[in-house]
């Protein structure tokens, strides 16, 4: 290949990369324009902040899921794990299982928001770790382990809560779900900080490099001296941690932890990651993409509701747009390849 050709290729590569990462973003922008034309109040700050708050729960889990999918894994248990962590947080916030029936929010008997938060993320991370160990030690595929986890965690949640919700938290805890800093909802700020941290970890740390390597080629990673099993376990710990964090925020927002929380979240979360351009085969993807993917889903849902589109039609439209968004991204990538 001549040098000129190579440079040509390089120029092409840069444009291509830009467009590639912009694929879902372009699609998102188009959606926002359409919804704004349909109903200009769509871009009122209040609605935009609503959207950021709404996507922050699944968005947080999607950050963790990005790590998992980058290693070519998957976690179907996140919805159930969210419910489980939320219930644990509620029990702690209420000061023990005995008080869970009380709806009082005085909170004097409880252990406070910090203990609740800690409990949620520790339980989430531990549950993720156990699943990670089952995957690496028992050699059971992630799909199966986390499918099992999906039903196990739901069963555990129902068992501790006996089917009912645990409600009524004190104001300091509720602030994490409903508070504002300036005009910005607290959940959105938590999500933004978490996203930036994840981006830094994946992009600029040794650990992040290892995650990509394991997902890109596990055998080559092992032969390059990476502790593949440890890294695999760690990504399930991370997604579990985020499920716990999301559970805490959700409970704080609803002022209640419900046994039925998070049903079907796994699919929303995985959609966000995949729409954002992360490959289910591992090794390719980014946190930025996931944020865009989560935003795309959030905007779509909110926009359709905003226009009072019937729920039946909503299902149809969301399904089609999901496919189209990914098809558009593929098409862009195939147009300007490398």
């Amino acid at each position: 290949m001549s040098i000129a050709e190579q440079q040509n290729q390089r120029g092409g590569a840069t444009i291509a990369r830009l467009l590639m990462s912009f694929g879902p973003l372009l699609f998102l922008a188009a959606l926002v324009v359409v919804f704004t034309v349909l109903k200009p109040s769509f871009i009122d700050p209040i609605n935009l902040f609503n959207i950021t708050r709404q996507i922050s729960i699944t968005g947080l889990i999607a950050l963790g899921m990005t790590f998992v999918i980058l290693t070519a894994g998957i976690d179907l248990s996140v919805g159930s794990l969210l419910a489980f962590c939320g219930m644990v947080a509620a029990v702690v916030a209420k000061g023990g299982a005995a008080n869970t029936l009380s709806l009082s929010t005085s909170g004097t008997q409880g252990y406070g928001w910090f203990a609740a938060l800690l409990a949620a993320v520790i339980v989430g991370a531990a549950a993720g770790g156990v699943q990670g160990l089952a995957i690496t030690r028992l050699k059971v595929p992630p799909f199966v382990v986390t499918l099992g986890g999906l039903t196990v965690f739901r069963g555990l949640t129902l068992t501790i809560s006996n089917g009912g919700p645990i409600s009524g938290f004190d104001a300091s805890m509720r602030w994490f779900g409903t508070g504002l800093i300036g005009p910005v909802p607290v959940p959105a700020i938590i999500f933004a900080i978490a996203a930036i941290l994840c981006h830094i970890v994946l992009r600029y740390t040794r650990y992040g490099r290892a995650v990509y390597a394991v997902g890109g080629n596990a055998e080559a990673a092992r032969l390059s001296g990476l502790r593949v099993d440890r890294i695999l376990v760690s990504v399930y710990v991370i997604v579990g941690f985020f499920a716990g964090l999301a559970a805490f925020v959700l409970s704080a927002r609803l002022n209640s932890s419900e046994a039925v929380a998070g049903i079907g979240y796994e699919l929303t979360v995985i959609s966000a990651v995949v729409i954002g351009g992360t490959s289910l085969f591992g090794g390719i993807g980014s946190v930025g993409g996931t944020v865009v993917g989560a935003a795309l889903i959030g905007v779509l849902q909110n926009g359709l509701q905003f226009n009072n589109v019937s729920s039946y039609t909503q299902s149809i439209v969301i399904g089609l747009i999901l496919i189209l968004a990914v098809a558009f991204d593929r098409w862009l990538k195939s147009r300007v390849r490398r």
Binding site: Q9, R10, Y204, R206, R209, A210, R222, L223, S224, S279
Partner: protein, 527 residues
């Protein structure tokens, strides 16, 4: 009979192929007649595979014309080519790993019984005969994933030979084969030539090209560099080929590098190494008491036939496979690496034989591919990558190894095989290992790059690194080794200084391990 007497079977006229941003082929023309073996040669990335893929219907040309049997030929899929009797052995093996050898041979054409249902019995019997032709004696009901690369290559060849064909296209069919199998393939090709089958043959092993080809077409940077004919029936000489390929006279490829380090103390010492049959890889050779030493500053060549256990030896030392018995000593201290990570921490490096599956991260850029084994070196105490340092190191190696690449971000997939191999070498050099094991370091690498890799290995040894080089190419082993050991059936069968070795001596040691081995061999052959 001079091949010119027959009419042209396939003619390529002015074919050009563009990929996004790259012109892989530009105005290439060639032709081939029945009963002719045409060598297609060129450096890595010259466009050989691209041309062959166009001929076999994998991709269309951007422009140009192809005729087959005098008629226009524009296949839209491999199926179309197959129907015309054009059969291809691809460079990237195209077997289905999860299926058995028999099924791979009969893919898409399984023998069926009266009800149209597949007859497994007939498939097994027929495929046993077919693989016997290339000298394989494995059970045809073995899944392909259990075969070594060499065995897979033989299966692929066997499959191609079993198809009714008029033109066989072979893209580096011998890259994983040792001398014996190569000779067998060459003699089969000779027979096909008599049967008026045309063969298009790509290889980076110029000796074998010279031995078998009637004519050669040489590509350089996607363009036609010229055609070469046999000179009065005598084989085409290597210097002529090399000159056409690289565009200048190649002075001393394969010439023994001059300054050698004086070998120092023993760095790595292996005694009585045994492995057990691993249920995950039941066909793998079991090491049966291997003793070997590697000294600082020497290149130890390891020669052996396919399946002699060389790769297993490398993997066992590297902690990639479990060891049943024996000791490994590094710098006088006994070590027991339980994983590659342990071995690497101790100062051992391994460039594995299967680049695609075991070494490269295809989708990732060159930078992460380079630094993956030294993340600790290239990061600070908080675990953040020191990207400046990382890039500087890469550009150092880029100069030292003359790696041809566009940028550090470029996906490694886009590099030619030789350059990929250099990046993998750089990966290990960055760790400055005490012992570097390289397994088939020049597989699929063109003649120029091959010489460069050899130079690099010599330089490493000169820096005091103990290098162990496994290779199936005897000329390569002879060219760069200070000392050579031979293996057979999981045992060391001989040792000699590099200067005293020659092909005959090595072949003898590789083929024999005990008195009865000869008889056993004959039996193997007979099956």
């Amino acid at each position: 009979m001079p091949p010119e007497a027959a009419p042209v079977l396939l003619a390529v006229e002015g074919v050009t192929k563009h990929f996004a941003g790259v012109t892989a082929l530009s105005d290439v023309s060639l032709d081939i007649r029945p009963g002719e073996i045409l060598g297609l040669l060129g450096e890595n990335g010259a466009g050989k595979s691209t041309l062959l893929k166009i001929l076999s219907g994998v991709m269309p040309p951007s422009s140009g014309r192809i005729t087959f049997d005098g008629a226009d030929y524009a296949p839209s899929s491999p199926q179309d080519a197959k129907q015309l009797g054009i059969v291809t052995i691809y460079q990237e093996l195209s077997l289905i790993p999860t299926l058995t050898v028999a099924e791979n041979i009969f893919i898409g054409r399984a023998p069926v019984g009266p009800l149209g249902l597949v007859s497994w019995r007939r498939m097994e019997q027929d495929s046993r005969d077919i693989i016997a032709r290339v000298g394989l004696s494995i059970d045809p009901m073995t899944p392909v994933s259990a075969l070594s690369v060499a065995e897979q290559q033989l299966v692929e060849i066997a499959r191609a030979l079993s198809l009714k064909s008029r033109l066989i296209i072979m893209d580096e069919p011998t890259s994983a084969l040792t001398e014996t199998e190569v000779q067998r393939l060459l003699s089969i090709m000779g027979r096909l030539r008599q049967d008026k089958v045309a063969i298009m043959f790509v290889t980076h092993r110029l000796e074998e090209a010279s031995a078998i080809c009637d004519r050669m077409t040489v590509l350089r940077d996607g363009r036609l560099a010229g055609h070469l004919d046999r000179d009065k029936g005598r084989p085409i000489q290597l210097p002529r080929i090399i000159e056409k390929m690289v565009g200048r006279a190649a002075s001393e490829l394969y010439a023994r590098p001059s300054q050698r380090a004086v070998a120092g103390d023993v760095v790595l010492s292996v005694r009585g190494l045994r492995t057990v049959r691993d249920p995950e890889a039941p066909h793998a050779i079991v090491l049966d008491g291997v003793d070997v030493d590697v000294k600082a500053g020497e290149i130890l060549g390891v020669a052996g036939l396919v399946g002699s256990g060389r790769t297993e030896l490398a993997r066992a030392i590297f902690g990639a496979d479990r060891i049943a018995a024996g000791t490994i000593t590094l710098d006088g201290k006994q070590i027991a690496p339980a994983s590659p990570a342990d071995a690497i921490a101790l100062g051992i490096g391994l460039v594995p034989e299967d680049r695609k599956h075991q070494a490269i991260f295809a989708a990732l850029g060159i930078l992460p591919n380079f630094s993956v084994a030294s993340l600790g070196t290239f990061s600070n105490g908080f675990g953040f990558m020191a990207e400046r340092r990382e890039r500087d190191a890469l550009s150092g190696f880029r100069k030292m190894l003359s790696i041809r690449m566009a940028s550090a971000e470029q996906a490694i997939e886009g590099l030619s095989g030789g350059n990929q191999q250099k990046v993998i070498l750089a990966r290990w050099l960055a760790r400055d290992p005490k012992v570097l094991i390289v397994d088939e370091p020049t597989r699929g690498v063109d003649v120029g790059a091959k010489a460069e890799v050899h130079q690099i290995l010599v330089q490493l040894a000169a820096r005091g690194i103990a290098v162990m080089m496994i290779s199936s190419e005897l000329p390569e082993v002879l060219a760069v080794s200070d000392r050579i050991v031979t293996m057979r059936r999981g045992r060391i069968t001989g040792e000699m200084p590099g200067v005293e070795a020659n092909e005959e001596k090595l072949m003898e040691l590789m083929a024999l391990d005990s008195q009865d081995a000869l008889g056993q061999d004959a039996e193997d052959q007979a099956r």
